[in-house]
């Protein structure tokens, strides 16, 4: 059932991407589900693959910083919604060489591997709750690789402008209770990228705020190259900057294998 729904959603999204279906008036807003599907496509599935040099700045309440620099490789499976991620850490210097591999499946737990260079150990790592922190940042795994569309109920609250951009304002409410009770997203009507998101805790207080500071077209695909996630309650934030990003660079599927964790492919990671 779930899988079918997802396919329907995907089809709808594809249809949406092509253009308004015949007979539907252009002024008609798409449904909240369609908006979220298209948001997912634009945000997490852009291109067949992606390569990015990412720098991450974690800033705590006192303004102290921790920096991370990594190369992030992503490939979408040719069929279905599976994705593979390869993350290699360049900085901090004392963890250089630490590498992380994730095989993401939409309907079951991820497979993950980690390489610890100091002891030459590559080990499988148990999957975690996707709402847990991504490498200690304010972003969760879901924020990085997307949250399954079927897990939430959506409602189009209103349409409004954020700055000079027209947005759909969509509220997502999880079907099962979770740390984030609900989330409100401002989604750009033209790019379908989120410009701002506010998530709330079960007591109805703002938990985190996401903002997209800079969006640039990369190979014709609008891409968020600078984004911030702020944990309002602990006054901690993480800024992610894509120093370089490219799509459809031709990452082979074989690259995303355990053995490449210890010997990172020099072609892609330098």
């Amino acid at each position: 059932m779930v899988a079918r729904k997802r396919w329907v959603g995907l089809l709808l999204a594809l249809v949406g991407a092509i253009g308004p279906a015949p007979g539907v008036r252009a002024s008609d807003a798409p449904s909240a589900e369609e908006i979220m599907q298209r948001f997912h496509e634009a945000m997490f599935y852009a291109g067949r693959d992606m390569k990015a040099k990412v720098s991450m700045r974690l800033v705590n309440r006192q303004g102290q910083e921790r920096g991370r620099t990594m190369t992030m490789l992503r490939a979408n499976a040719s069929d279905g919604r599976n994705q593979k991620y390869y993350i290699y850490f360049h900085q901090p210097a004392d963890v250089r060489g630490t590498a992380f591999l994730v095989w993401k499946y939409p309907d079951k737990d991820d497979d993950r591997w980690l390489h610890i260079p100091a002891i030459h150990l590559t080990t499988r790592v148990a999957a975690k709750d996707r709402q847990s922190s991504f490498v200690g940042s304010d972003f969760t795994y879901e924020d990085i690789s997307g949250r399954d569309v079927g897990l939430d109920r959506y409602e189009l609250l209103r349409e409004e402008s954020l700055g000079d951009k027209a947005c759909y304002v969509v509220e997502s409410t999880p079907k099962e209770t979770s740390v984030q009770a609900r989330k409100v997203s401002w989604i750009d009507k033209t790019t379908f990228l989120p410009l701002k998101e506010e998530s709330y805790d079960p007591r109805g207080r703002v938990l985190k705020v996401f903002t997209a500071e800079e969006i640039r077209p990369v190979k014709g695909r609008p891409t968020i190259v600078r984004r911030t996630m702020r944990d309002v309650q602990s006054d901690h934030y993480t800024e992610v900057v894509f120093e370089s990003v490219d799509y459809d660079v031709g990452l082979e599927d074989g690259l995303f294998a355990e053995r490449y964790l210890e010997k990172p492919p020099g072609k892609w990671i330098h």
Binding site: V95, I116, K128, D129, S133, R203, H236
Partner: protein, 782 residues
């Protein structure tokens, strides 16, 4: 005695003025009281004993800094769950999960950091799979699952003593509070939460915020209950003494007026009512009973004169001077606290000093004015018994004074012996404070604390922060080994139940990554290894796990120390061990204590020593006032004896009883000062007056017989006033013996003892001393 002496300004007599215009005086008192009363709606309370130290004090600023650096919570409540046959079973674990979830929904609880067996991060490796995840994402159902969980839990030393007792019968849910949350309210909510759960488990709500906020709240409630209760008892006692209800109402009315004035003033000035100032009504009521000396004398005089106005004048003339000086001594004793460091101590001192002055002002205006309204017939009836010869109490007091006067040497020797014993006891006094012990032994708060401390590593939390000047220096093997060494040293202290630091996480990960091989339960040798373990942990566990033990730049490490008692001395031991370690093995990491237990120690030292210093200063000031009052150094020394004696005896008893010198005792000391010296002033002043009245000229020693007779008279007549005052006082405070908080029981018991003691000291010892040193005392006077 010159009449205008009583009333300050030469030629103007407040008493005379008041007797002539009684209605105006009453009206004025009513108007003033109403004016001060208008301030009451603005009343603010501050029940948090912590606020005795201002938010800007060094210790609070430092603790705030530490809380910020390590993302810590200032306050955490510990919910204990205990079951005799073990808590690791599906039923109890389900309850723990439920408590964890529900605690997060209570307003004021920092939901994301509520920690229990359900959600604590656990690092394990099984079948080639590294796992950093909440211990119990799902509550185990089958016996096999439970057994597996048990093995996991007991294989992780980080959990033992913190989340599970060694025997597996007790566990804890840690509920951190957001800044400014009311610990008592949240504790009550948690009690309701666990109250809904049925079954064989016992639940305990413990932790500093529970004790502190419960105490603050209870204290205010008790003050609200005991102030009127003490007032009513005094009222009844006065009625029994004087058989006049109007008189009883007069004394208490005057006390009420003084309370309204001083508390009104305090509120008007914008101060919140703090736990210390909340005690001032009872203090002022007690001090108000000093006017008993006026009534005592008035009734004697009225019986002799049968003329009301004349009796009032003569009374005020006779007791005016001692009453004024006792007021001065009391007010000065409390006013000295104004020069102390701790703001609530200053407020308390100022409040009581002002109230004392107000009381005395009323004694010379409102009291005589109202006495003019009392019907002669009633007075006649009441004064019938007031005859020194006929009165049983007076006769007894007379013979008591006589005993001291006739056997001065023996009395003084006996006193010295008692004193020596008292000093021996007093030296055993330990300055200590333990807020949990302010609750009675069987109380919920104390039981919870005891049970949790026995089962787990301890509910009292302290930190030692190790800091370096360089970034990333905590990640070195040397730094970690240094910290580890300190932990092992601290754990040797009997009151330290458990310590936790970043070292424990590193060792844990090292072991887990090496196939759970115990040989790897050590600090790794390379810096990269440590850095990568911490990186791995930081990217897998809850951010708080790592943040709580190292700062953002890996420049500081935070060592958690669980203490088994809230006693200030436990923390003192930790600091001593820390200093000894730093001396024995020098290393470029600076060690500094922090946390709630550290705060309590500083609070204990600062607030308590402030009170002790204030008390010491008050002793000096009171002595100076005595010198001025008696215009003689020697008389001042004699007058000082009952006060010193009483205080030393009290401390002696405290020392032998093994009772700590804590906050309530220090407040009590100040009160003793105000009261015990009063009796001596009354006694000596009246003795001197008596000698003058019966024709003895000052400047030479009186004949022994004349002196003895005067002493007997003083012991019997003003002595009765002293005794009445003491009994009143003691009875009012004895209600506190039934209070549910131990400080009140202590205060109640000791005030009752102290008043009786200082009255007896005055009546027995002053005659003995005066007879013994008669030559010196009278010889060179004037």
């Amino acid at each position: 005695m010159r009449n205008n002496m009583n009333n300050g300004l030469a030629g103007f007599s407040l008493v005379e003025w008041s007797i002539r215009r009684p209605k105006r005086v009453v009206a004025l008192a009513v108007v003033l009281t109403a004016a001060f009363g208008t301030q009451f709606p603005k009343l603010k309370t501050d029940t948090n004993p912590k606020n005795m130290l201002p938010a800007t004090s060094d210790v609070r600023m430092w603790n705030d800094e530490v809380d910020q650096t390590f993302a810590l919570y200032e306050d955490t409540i510990v919910v204990g769950v205990a079951r005799e046959d073990g808590v690791l079973n599906p039923d109890t674990l389900a309850k723990i999960a439920r408590i964890t979830d529900e605690a997060g929904t209570i307003p004021g609880v920092a939901a994301k950091d509520v920690t229990s067996l359900k959600n604590v991060d656990n690092v394990t490796a099984a079948e080639g799979m590294l796992k950093v995840s909440p211990l119990m994402a799902e509550v185990p159902q089958s016996q096999e699952e439970v057994e597996a969980l048990k093995r996991t839990i007991f294989a992780n030393p980080l959990l033992i003593g913190r989340l599970i007792s060694r025997d597996g019968n007790t566990t804890a849910v840690y509920v951190p509070l957001e800044r400014g949350a009311d610990g008592k309210k949240i504790a009550d909510d948690l009690r309701r939460t666990v109250g809904k759960l049925k079954g064989p488990e016992a639940y305990y709500i413990a932790g500093d915020p529970v004790a502190r906020d419960t105490f603050g709240a209870e204290m205010f409630k008790l003050m609200g209950l005991f102030s009127p209760l003490a007032g009513m008892i005094m009222l009844a006692a006065i009625y029994l003494m004087f058989r006049s209800l109007s008189l009883a109402f007069l004394v208490m009315g005057v006390a009420m007026i003084a309370i309204v004035w001083s508390v009104g003033l305090l509120i008007g000035l914008g101060f919140p009512i703090h736990i210390m100032s909340s005690m001032s009504p009872v203090f002022l009521m007690a001090i108000a009973t000093d006017s008993i000396h006026i009534f005592n004398e008035f009734y004697f005089r009225y019986r002799e004169r049968k003329n009301k106005a004349q009796a009032i004048r003569e009374t005020m003339s006779a007791v005016g001077r001692p009453v004024r000086y006792t007021a001065l001594a009391t007010a000065a004793g409390f006013a000295v606290l104004l020069f102390m460091h701790i703001i609530p101590v200053r407020v308390f001192g100022g409040l009581v000093a002002f109230g004392t002055v107000a009381l005395r002002l009323l004694s010379f205006s409102l009291v005589p004015a109202i006495l003019t309204f009392v019907s002669e017939e009633k007075m006649e009836r009441a004064s019938r018994t007031e005859d020194v010869g006929a009165d049983r109490a007076a006769r007894w007091l007379r013979s008591l004074g006589d005993l001291g006067a006739r056997h001065p040497a023996a009395t003084v020797l006996a006193g010295l012996a008692a004193l020596a014993l008292a000093v021996a006891g007093a030296t055993r006094t330990v300055v200590n404070n333990n807020m949990v012990n302010w609750f009675k032994a069987g109380s919920e708060v104390r039981t919870a604390d005891r049970v949790m401390n026995e089962a787990l590593g301890g509910t009292s939390l302290a930190y030692i922060v190790a800091s370096s000047h360089e970034e990333d220096s905590i990640k070195t093997p040397e730094a970690l080994r240094y910290i580890e060494g300190l932990q092992r040293d601290l754990e040797k202290l009997p009151l330290v139940g458990k310590t936790t630091s970043v070292v424990d996480y590193v060792k844990r990960i090292n072991r887990v990554l090496h196939g759970d091989d115990p040989r790897y339960d050590t600090v790794p040798d390379s810096r990269e290894e440590i850095a990568q373990y911490l990186f791995l942990f930081g990217m897998s566990a809850k951010p708080a796990d790592l943040d709580n033990v190292v700062d953002y730049r890996f420049q500081k490490a935070n060592i958690w120390i669980q203490l088994k008692t809230w006693d200030a001395r436990a923390m003192r031991g930790v600091i001593a061990a820390q200093d000894a370690y730093a001396r024995a093995s020098p290393f470029p990491l600076e060690l500094k204590p922090a946390g709630t237990a550290y705060f309590n120690l500083v609070w204990n030292d600062e607030v308590l020593w402030d009170m002790v210093k204030g008390f010491g200063l008050a002793l000096v000031v009171v002595f100076v006032i005595l010198v001025f009052n008696f215009r003689s150094f020697k008389w001042a020394v004699v007058g000082y004896v009952p006060l010193l004696f009483t205080i030393l005896l009290i401390y002696g008893v405290l020392g032998f009883a093994g009772k700590d010198f804590d906050m309530p005792i220090s407040v009590l000391s100040c009160l003793s000062l105000g009261m015990a010296v009063d009796f001596a002033i009354h006694f000596i002043s009246r003795l001197k007056q008596r000698l003058a009245e019966i024709g003895h000229e000052s400047g030479r020693a009186p004949d022994t017989e004349v002196l003895l007779e005067a002493l007997r008279w003083t012991a019997a007549r003003p002595g009765k006033g002293i005794m009445r005052n003491a009994v009143l006082f003691a009875s009012a405070f004895s209600v506190m013996l039934f209070a549910p908080l131990t400080p009140y029981v202590t205060v109640g018991g000791f005030i009752a003892g102290m008043m009786t003691l200082s009255a007896l000291m005055t009546i027995l010892y002053l005659p003995a001393l005066i007879v013994l040193f008669k030559g010196s005392l009278f010889g060179r006077a004037s």
